[in-house]
């Protein structure tokens, strides 16, 4: 089941023959003045359906470009209609409510059923609709009538209403159409020449017209239709006439279906008039499938307005949401950018304005220069004082050498190795020195002195 949006100019209605021995195919094309029958065929073997469809639609073509819709009729005796009410909602919410209603109304799990629906009328805060349900395996069977080609499955009652409206004298008023078949009678409620709901009455013996009329009247009563609702009957002459009489006696306005010459001419069905008069739903199915307002009770193309609008609304909603979010983000970023630019301008203006003979920029410039100088200025007094504090009084300093980027070099003389080691240790303890290394302490025995050199790193002025 999907929401088909493709526009078709031709449709082939496929219906099982009354005696269930074959299939009837009717091709209808859209014409300037309405619809026109483009072909009619009967096939005894289901295997030949595909080739017959190709023949009717004018040969094989690219499926993407094919504008012929294949519509299969679901037997109304296999279809059940359920009326339901929903609040005045649309789109996804309506679909959700309908699914919930279907779960409660259907006498089987949803997974075993295929259903479609139609919203019939709106009444204040509620709206009326009707579900059409078939068993899933029957639905699959119909899909496989012509594998891969079936684009629409409609109840044949929908075809019946369209066939009546297309070939016979019809009315847009609410009315009941009765079709007498071999072992059943089909009741289809029509309004605006569209199917509202339908029911099938099984008939064991059609000659017992009183019984049949009673059953039909009972079904009409369950449909809660007023007695004044017109009833139109078609089928075998004698039985139809007898049923007309019986139902009329029950107080219902009953008429027989009457062919419309104009409609017959417009449709171009004179040569197949008998066949179509007997099974108007064959042509009606194709007409119903091509309905510009969307198909009624299509099991494949779910209700166009609701489902499609839903999808479109959802997509539009998503696009609108994304667009709104994008606009919001752009505005937000724009706002931040604008505010930052204004603030920067204001600060720069404040820094440029003169106050007490100077400007903020000038003060900052001096401050930055101070910062730069302080980073480049080693404190020689700190260094010398740190070295001096580590020396014993009787140590003799020979030289101190400092050069930026290089280790500080101290050459000195001490009385003993212990004194040298103590000096080395004290230097290591100074926070401003790192990597203090004692190099080649040598004992001068003649003078009883230890000559030594120490290198060290002073703060960040020595490269490691």
């Amino acid at each position: 089941m999907n929401n088909e949006t493709k526009q078709y100019s031709k449709a082939i209605g496929i219906l099982k023959a009354a005696d269930h021995t074959g299939w009837i195919l009717t091709l209808v094309e859209k014409a300037a003045t309405g619809f026109r029958m483009g072909g009619y065929a009967t096939v005894s073997d289901a295997a030949k359906l595909a080739s017959e469809i190709e023949k009717l639609s004018g040969g094989k073509s690219n499926p993407d470009e094919d504008t012929t819709l294949v519509c299969v009729g679901a037997d109304t005796t296999q279809t059940v209609f359920f009326a339901f009410k929903t609040p005045q909602v649309e789109g996804a919410r309506l679909t959700a409510i309908i699914h919930a209603q279907a779960e409660t109304l259907l006498p089987m799990p949803l997974s075993q059923a295929a259903f479609t629906w139609r919203m019939v009328r709106q009444d204040g805060a509620t709206q009326d609709g009707c579900l059409a349900v078939v068993r899933k395996n029957y639905y699959q069977e119909l899909c496989n009538v012509v594998p891969g080609r079936v684009g629409s499955i409609l109840p044949d009652a929908a075809g019946l209403v369209k066939g009546w409206a297309g070939v016979f004298e019809s009315t847009t008023e609410k009315c009941v159409l009765i079709q007498i078949r071999k072992h059943s009678c089909i009741l289809a409620v029509s309004e605006g020449e569209k199917l509202v709901r339908a029911a099938a009455v099984d008939v064991e013996d059609l000659s017992l017209t009183m019984v049949v009329a009673h059953d039909l009247a009972a079904v009409l009563d369950t449909m809660e239709l007023p007695k004044s609702t017109p009833v139109y009957i078609t089928g075998e002459e004698d039985i139809a006439a007898a049923l007309c009489r019986e139902l009329a006696q029950g107080g219902r306005p009953v008429q027989r279906w009457r062919l419309s010459d104009n409609k017959i001419s417009a449709l171009g069905i004179r040569d197949k008039l008998t066949e179509i008069r007997n099974r108007p739903e064959t042509i009606g199915l194709a007409i119903a499938a091509l309905d510009e307002q969307g198909p009624t009770y299509d099991f494949i193309r779910l209700p166009k307005t609701e489902a499609m609008d839903d999808a479109v609304v959802d997509k539009k909603g998503l696009v609108r949401g994304l667009a709104a979010a994008a606009i919001f983000v752009i505005l937000l970023l724009g706002g931040i950018y604008w505010t930052s630019a204004r603030q920067l301008e204001a600060i720069e203006q404040a820094l440029s304005s003169e106050y007490h003979g100077t400007t903020g920029h000038a003060i900052l410039e001096r401050q930055q220069m101070r910062d730069r100088i302080s980073k480049a200025r080693p404190d020689m007094l700190e260094m010398l004082s740190a070295i001096g504090s580590c020396m014993d009084r009787d140590m003799l300093l020979d030289s101190i050498s400092f050069k930026k980027g290089q280790p500080v070099r101290i050459a000195a003389k001490a009385r003993s190795f212990e004194q040298v080691n103590a000096f080395h240790k004290k230097l290591q303890e100074q926070a401003c020195f790192k990597d203090v290394k004692l190099i080649s302490p040598t004992l001068d025995e003649r003078r009883s002195q230890v000559q030594f050199t120490i290198t060290l790193a002073y703060r960040n002025f020595t490269r490691s």
Partner: protein, 186 residues
């Protein structure tokens, strides 16, 4: 364009639309969005910097900024913004000579050097080297007085060598640096 799209099958159409949309977005991003974002980033970083500057200027007593300023001022109590190199050298030399004389130090020679300093400011400094003889207290006095020289940046080199015959006397090599006037302030 639409005619061309109509000729394609749905899969090809989707790919073509996807490619067109992606291409469009890329063009929009690289031609419009990226330059704007770059500019916005620059403005944000400049604003951050200027806010810091402003908070430094308006620092209240006891704040971190005020303490930082105080320590900076202590490290560099006097300062003259650098002028053009020739003039800057003269100014430094004159001031340094005065300070050396005040400290009672004998200078054997002055020598200007450029480009031999190390560190990030190396290319923007001029160095003045002097050699001479002095006593240690005089050198300490000079080092103390140096801070009052508004053109002095830092000591680049200091070598003190004790005279073995007269340990009160020192031979020294002393190099100080100053910024070139053309140097851009950070």
């Amino acid at each position: 364009m639409m005619k061309y799209l109509d000729k394609l099958n749905p899969r090809e159409r989707k790919i073509a639309i996807f490619c067109a949309v992606t291409g469009g977005l890329m063009v929009v991003y690289f031609l419009i969005a990226e330059p704007i974002l770059l500019k916005a980033g620059q403005i944000q970083s400049r604003l951050r910097q200027q806010r810091q500057n402003l908070s430094m200027l308006l620092a209240e007593e006891g704040s971190v900024e005020a303490m930082k300023l105080k320590s900076l001022t202590a490290a560099v109590p006097v300062l003259e913004m650098p002028v053009e190199p020739d003039k800057q050298v003269q100014l430094l030399r004159d001031q340094l000579t005065k300070q050396i004389q005040q400290a009672g130090i004998q200078v054997k020679n002055f020598q200007f050097q450029t480009g031999s300093a190390t560190g990030p400011n190396a290319s923007s400094v001029i160095m003045l080297q002097c050699r001479g003889r002095c006593q240690f207290p005089a050198m300490v006095k000079l080092l103390e007085e140096l801070k009052k020289n508004p053109y002095y940046v830092g000591v680049e080199e200091l070598t003190l060598r004790v005279d073995e015959r007269n340990r009160q006397e020192l031979d020294f090599t002393f190099t100080v640096s100053t910024f070139r006037g053309s140097a851009k302030v950070l």
